[in-house]
């Protein structure tokens, strides 16, 4: 499965063997400057309304069709190797590859800087006017919709898992959901039990 990394690029169905060429030419490309790294990630960040998970899934799977459902989940889980926000990890790795530590800093601050300033502005307005009935009612509507958006994202993510017809996956997903979402148990504790169990189940299947 080592060619899976290049598969997303193969958008043209006519290309019979798209695996090698992109990887070879990628290293020969022009290196983005620190400023380009910053602005590129600022752009990605500012176009990602409603959270980058819903947004990146929409772009990669539904619009550009760079990734299938399964590939998206797998790519996402690969990022889960590393803790923290996937897009943040991606920006750090991407920036570091081209411009070392400063590249990582440029890309990550491009990603986090603009939303940080925006959210402080919004937070300031909320702190002063958050109790106004008008704003209160509008926010209650948006909060309910934001919860709904998340439900839809979960349903879309769960589709490939349910298609596999393996009991372990859905069972582990449900156990994780119940422990955190229903029982409200602490996250580190739950992960300490469920991750080894899930690895064991995956090893049995392979």
């Amino acid at each position: 499965m080592d060619d899976s990394a290049h598969a997303p690029r193969a958008t043209a169905p006519s290309a019979t063997s798209p695996h090698r060429a992109p990887a070879a030419s990628a290293s020969a490309q022009i290196k983005p400057s620190l400023v380009e790294l910053f602005t590129a990630f600022a752009k990605v960040s500012l176009s990602g309304f409603g959270g980058v998970l819903a947004w990146s899934r929409r772009m990669m799977v539904e619009e550009r069709k760079w990734l299938s459902d399964e590939q998206f989940n797998e790519t996402y889980a690969l990022c889960a190797f590393l803790p923290g926000g996937n897009i943040l990890n991606f920006s750090v790795m991407f920036g570091a590859r081209f411009r070392g530590a400063w590249g990582a800093v440029a890309a990550a601050s491009g990603l986090m800087g603009p939303p940080l300033l925006l959210v402080l502005l919004i937070g300031g307005v909320y702190a002063h006017y958050g109790d106004l009935p008008l704003l209160r009612r509008a926010l209650a509507g948006v909060a309910a919709a934001a919860a709904g958006l998340m439900l839809a994202t979960v349903a879309k993510m769960a589709r490939p898992l349910l298609r596999q017809r393996v009991v372990a996956g859905p069972l582990i997903a449900f156990a994780t959901f119940a422990a955190i979402g229903v029982m409200h148990w602490p996250l580190p504790l739950v992960l300490a039990v469920i991750v080894p169990a899930s690895i064991l189940a995956a090893m049995v299947r392979s």
Partner: protein
Amino acid sequence: MNAGAGGGTLLTLAGFFGVLSLFAIGGGNSAVPEMHRFAVDVEHWLSDQQFADSFALAQLTPGPNIIIVTLIGYHVAGIVGALVTTLAMCGPPAAFAYFVGGASERFKGKTWHSVLSRALVPVMIGLTAASAAVVVSTTGYSWISLVITFGTALTMYFVRVHPLWVFAVAALLGLGGLM
């Protein structure tokens, strides 16, 4: 905003979010229940409603979802709190990605790599589902908010529409005094 937010509070913020950042499998969304448990249930920094508002405002802000921690930090200890919390949530994973990220490329295709990634997919989906449940519970279970929640879920599942349009409609429904 809490008035008496001193160095102790900043340390608590930095410590909690610094540790939490290393347990956030698959991104900020999966850490939402733990944030809620600590900030609302344990420390009483925010009410359920304020947490729901923070989540909604973070969704309305373009950029990574993780920005919700900036709002929580701001709520607890102002601008300094916001910066400390954001750095605590982003710093450890970023450092991790910087030092380990390059190495993981070489492991792609190895058996244990695919086993681990297959093992993490269901955990990540379960965590995201739990986040959705916690977020739904903070919106207060009124019948109209449930209608908006499930209306949005069905719309976003079956129709390809920009989330901002759905948010706008929901805000109007709220403004219309329906909630």
